[in-house]
Subunit: 188 residues, 2 copies
Amino acid sequence: MSRWEPNARGRLAEAALELYRERGYEQTTVAEIAKRAGLTERTFFRHYADKREVLFSGAGELQELFVRAVAGAPESAAPIDALARGLDAVSEAFAGRRAFARARHAVITANAELRERELIKLASLSAALAETLRRRGVTEPAAGLAAEAGVAVFKIGFERWLADDGEREMAESVREALSVFRAVAAGK
Amino acid sequence: MSRWEPNARGRLAEAALELYRERGYEQTTVAEIAKRAGLTERTFFRHYADKREVLFSGAGELQELFVRAVAGAPESAAPIDALARGLDAVSEAFAGRRAFARARHAVITANAELRERELIKLASLSAALAETLRRRGVTEPAAGLAAEAGVAVFKIGFERWLADDGEREMAESVREALSVFRAVAAGK
DNA sequence: CTAGTGATGTCAGTGACTGTCATCGACCCT
DNA sequence: AGGGTCGATGACAGTCACTGACATCACTAG
């Protein structure tokens, strides 16, 4: 039998989301999160760089998934079509997680510091996508612009999916966003 | 003669940029900034909400300028063309300020917290542009997507302008970015 | 002349985050 | 079995961003 309860990291993330929902991000102290997880404040900071990061541990996997799908698109695919592959892949990854995504998103949008952190995760995603497109032979500034566009479509498709009352899949919302995006860029 | 030196706010902003350049953002304390400006730490926080904000006091004016230009575009202009008006307007506003913009941008890109703050200013700009487009009759999700696109073009055009060795005007870099953006969205 | 105003100073907090050292089960080697 | 190392955690002191409360005092309106 091990010395400590397992999955300290996960317990911290769970406790943090609970507390942020119950009393808000600012009204929650790290000491309280740690206590609920049965740990100390110092241990919290060994697992997460700061009080915000605890909500974003999944960002790395999402980025990897997106990038892999774009990198795996046919060589002949135009940048925007390669990005569409990535958008499909991440959309699938959210299937069945709408309730969780909504709860987390509500917490984030309620606080400016958390919104900032979310934006820098999206910026990191954009940078990774741009790099992937460059590796596919896309030159600047097209790679950077296409990557920003892909992220914008993801963000807005995601938000519309969360706002939707029905049972529409995220992939559908994202595809709609992409289609509208193309029309707007074409001057419609 | 007045009781205090005038322009406390401006002195704080100047002192902050100097110190952030000299020894980096993290290695600078608010007390040091205040001291260089001939004020106290408490007064710093009366003028700026936090240590980051002191670099972003111009963001409000930029947003207003952008929004006004978009709102003032001919009613018949498509969203992307209305945004192009705004891009031209803000580009003009940077004329002759490349050295300052470069120094400030170098400080910001060197620090994650400052990058976060910059991103949220751009997100605020995007939200304001989306609202402006909605007032022009553009529906969602087109308004949000077009606004994100406009901000992406601004960001990349701006960065390319800063990186450029020659004397190319910002408006030119931004127009090039917009043109490449249209091509990418069209699947080129 | 007097009361009020507004920008600043002073001071005592709270809480996020860090560096450092101690603890002690688990695991490995002999 | 015994001893040594390792890794996750705890304990504790410290720095600094940021806040609330109250004092100060040149300037100004009446």
